[in-house]
Symmetry: C2
Subunit: 493 residues, 2 copies
């Protein structure tokens, strides 16, 4: 098919290759940035006066080279080929026996970092860019829809705020959660669900149901500092199990640990989009983990806080899907995926359900119903899946741009993976760099990051940072990442 010439082509290079080359240069120069939407086929046809087949060839060749990422129903997006990205994180030693279990002293560390932030602000240095969290900017959540749903709930239930609260949570809301849980392969009755104040309360009562002060709990390493704070506050000892940035907790290391420490009472894992690694356990690992804990008589507690943010429309299966003995305690939350201002979590505790219900009741009674009614209305509507799909796309964009900026601006020796979804990147800095120094230097310039020390009871992750990708990738965010790269390089000296 003949093609009208649209752009000057100096040699016999096929037209599509010339156009692809122009776009490649545009990406390399930064004119087109990773995560940006690539012009549609129709746009290319119009802009360059080329045929459908040429426009398609442009896209296919860029995609095959890794410069474009096709997202179903969304179009093509600019990316940086892997060879331009930082090196990937290394696997932990799966055969290593973990360090001995120890009582956790994380709260002092966390408080120390919080206190530094307070000191900085008292010196007139406010935080301008907060990359330390693990949450979306408010604008990414469905604030308007939830506000309207809450207002409707107040109108429909005029007695809501003054009548007795339903035991274990609003029955309708628990029914909606049970229906959603089916998509993750769980078959639960609403009566097997207790609504909690976020996943953190669910983890509290789960741990209290199966462990006494002094007992050992196996956790991923690195892990969420909030979990370490819970262990500390309950007087439990943490046994940190090496965890793969790709496949999650090392089953080999865990198995070895269970043989070495018979006092392990529970294992806590985040199977999908582990915090901070972003790893996702393959289904085969999940099945093995459930069987391993069952055989060893160890309670298996899963924290499903980020699962709905994994790429793709098919939800990942929960560990509970493989649970045949009621040994899996499923803890989940809407806090990160739906609304940072609502503390809606839930727990389904298998054969420990009665004890968990007692502990939740003795701890905070049943949870207020208004948030549940508002969130329930939204989740039960078709808007929820549409919203999640859009959110996943936005986060993919923000992660890709953040990754590109780090790959470009951080010193050689920086390593990270691009997780298959979620809110965060876990960055390994060159071994001689203390993330605590980076934290201080960044805070001095109004940039808040989460240093690796917060994610372990050990010092193993002192040269790591966790960066939040939940903020829209503005020029300010990009400038902050660039500056962070310089500060990391300077921290070396």
């Amino acid at each position: 098919m003949d093609e009208p010439l649209a752009a000057p082509v100096a040699d016999r290079t096929p037209l599509y290759r010339a156009l692809a080359g122009q776009y490649r240069s545009a990406i390399e120069s930064g004119a087109l940035r990773p995560g940006e939407r690539f012009p549609s086929v129709r746009t290319l046809m119009g802009r360059h006066g080329v045929s459908l087949s040429t426009a398609l060839q442009v896209c296919r060749s860029l995609e095959s080279e890794g410069w474009l990422e096709a997202r179903p129903r969304s179009g093509n997006f600019v990316r940086r080929p892997k060879r331009f990205a930082a090196a990937a994180l290394q696997e932990p030693d799966h055969a290593a026996l973990p360090d001995p279990a120890q009582f956790v002293g994380i709260h002092a560390r966390v408080s120390d970092f919080v206190a530094r932030g307070i000191v900085a602000r008292s010196k007139g240095k406010p935080v301008r860019i907060n990359l330390s969290g693990a949450a979306c900017a408010p604008a990414l959540y469905p604030g308007e829809a939830l506000k309207n749903a809450a207002t409707r709930a107040l109108r429909r239930h005029p007695d809501l705020l003054v009548k007795n609260i339903a035991l274990n949570g609003n029955a309708g809301f628990r029914g909606i959660l049970a229906r959603r849980a089916m998509e993750s392969g769980m078959v639960l009755s609403p009566d097997e669900i207790v609504v909690t104040h976020g996943c953190i309360e669910a983890l509290n009562v789960a741990l209290r149901a199966v462990a006494q002060p002094g007992d050992i709990v196996a956790v991923e390493s690195p892990t969420y500092f909030g979990l370490l704070q819970v262990l500390e506050s309950l007087g439990l000892r943490a046994l940190e199990i090496p965890t793969s940035p790709q496949t999650g907790i090392s089953l080999e290391a865990l198995e070895l640990a269970t043989r070495t420490y018979p006092e392990i009472k529970a294992v806590v894992v985040v199977p999908v989009l582990q915090n901070p690694l972003g790893s996702i356990m393959p289904d085969a690992h999940k099945a093995r983990l459930v069987a391993l804990c069952d055989a060893a008589g160890i309670a298996l507690i899963e924290d499903d806080t980020y699962g709905a943010l994994a790429n793709g429309d098919a939800p990942r299966k929960a560990l509970k899907h493989w649970d045949r003995t009621g040994n899996v305690i499923h803890c989940a939350s809407l806090h990160k995926i739906l609304a940072a201002g609502m503390r809606l979590g839930w727990i389904s505790a298998g054969r420990r359900q009665a004890r968990v219900e007692m502990l939740k009741y003795a701890q905070t009674r049943s949870s207020e119903e208004l948030s549940q009614l508002a969130a329930g209305e939204f989740i039960a509507s078709s808007a929820f899946d549409r919203y999640l799909r859009r959110l996943r796309g936005q986060l993919a964009d923000q992660r890709a741009r953040t990754a590109a900026a780090i790959a470009e601006c951080f010193p050689a020796g920086t390593r990270f993976n691009e997780p298959d979804g979620g809110l965060m990147l876990w960055i390994e800095l060159p071994a001689d760099i203390s993330s605590q120094r980076v934290f201080d230097a960044a805070l001095d310039e109004g940039i808040l990051v989460a240093p690796g020390q917060m994610f372990s009871n050990s010092n193993r992750f002192d040269n790591y940072l966790r960066l939040n990708c939940g903020l829209p990738f503005t020029d300010e965010v990009e400038a902050a990442l660039r500056r962070l790269g310089q500060l990391v390089a300077q921290a070396r000296r």
Copy 2:
């Protein structure tokens, strides 16, 4: 002054005496019921064609005989003179050493009673009249005002449900709580207040801040079963201290106990309107208790859940008023006094504040702000005090009528006090009557009561009942109380 004759008067009895006699008979016959509003002076003048001075004399003579109670700004209300009421509760033995401290096994008891209710319902016997709680009927709470305030808060803060939650609770709400606390003699900065999920979470973190599993906690006896459940769930041992139905915990017995059990780590008391006794500690006792705990190095935890329901417009002083060393942990709640559907409590922990903040954060993070904004707006307005005044009047009415019905219908040997405010009556049945049998017989007829066994780890209160006076005193409630009296009499055999 001459009086026109209004009613036939057969003899030389002064007119006012004749009229007073008619009204006295009306009360004795039940035509006028305790708690009902007595006709105003103006009404008496019109109805009987008498002068102001005669009408006033009628009221004064009935009042002096105990048939009327004058309530400031509200008028006169019918009451039953004390001589027609049941005998008062006896004082405990203040010199007795308490039973040894023991681990609590209350949850099984409470669950057993809950389970009986479920079984009854499954047999098609629904609860028609629930006198087992300690809460007002929804209609007594300011549902409309709170609903409107919540709707306004959603409108004013469109991001509320999707933005990060303020640490330790909404700052404005904590400021409002701090201002109200001044009325109870506490000088607190908003920063010394952490918002919790009801008083129960405040008690949880207070106890976790000062005691480890196995430690002893001194509690009032009888006490709130919710507190016993908390102790049980935390693995603490309860030492039940004899408690006066008039003046609260026995300081003599507590002092003896602190000398006998050096492992006591905390004392938990409800100084104003103790649950279930309704006792109010005199200020002198409060000061002594604060000093006693201070000297013994024992944390003093006060639960102020019902204080605002004490008769009179002047709030009672909190224990914290006398606290000079930061040893008093003040726990409070709006759940009973403002809105049963909101779980709003707070804690101010003196020198344990940092640890309490850590435990609250590790347990449930900071509490959602919507309820706080709604309640805060109402509490900060002049409507709150007007509402409380009206509520106290309604409760006084409901308590008086309940008391009258019990005095009339329960068998001889029944004893109770009429507390100076609050939601409940604590009824001592004749010693040979098991309240568990009464519970079962009543449940069989759709009447739910709280049996004495739930208020102690011992069997000391097996012949007691706690009855809720938070429901409007309808004919159904009265009929239920009458029937309860018959069931109590029958339980004897």
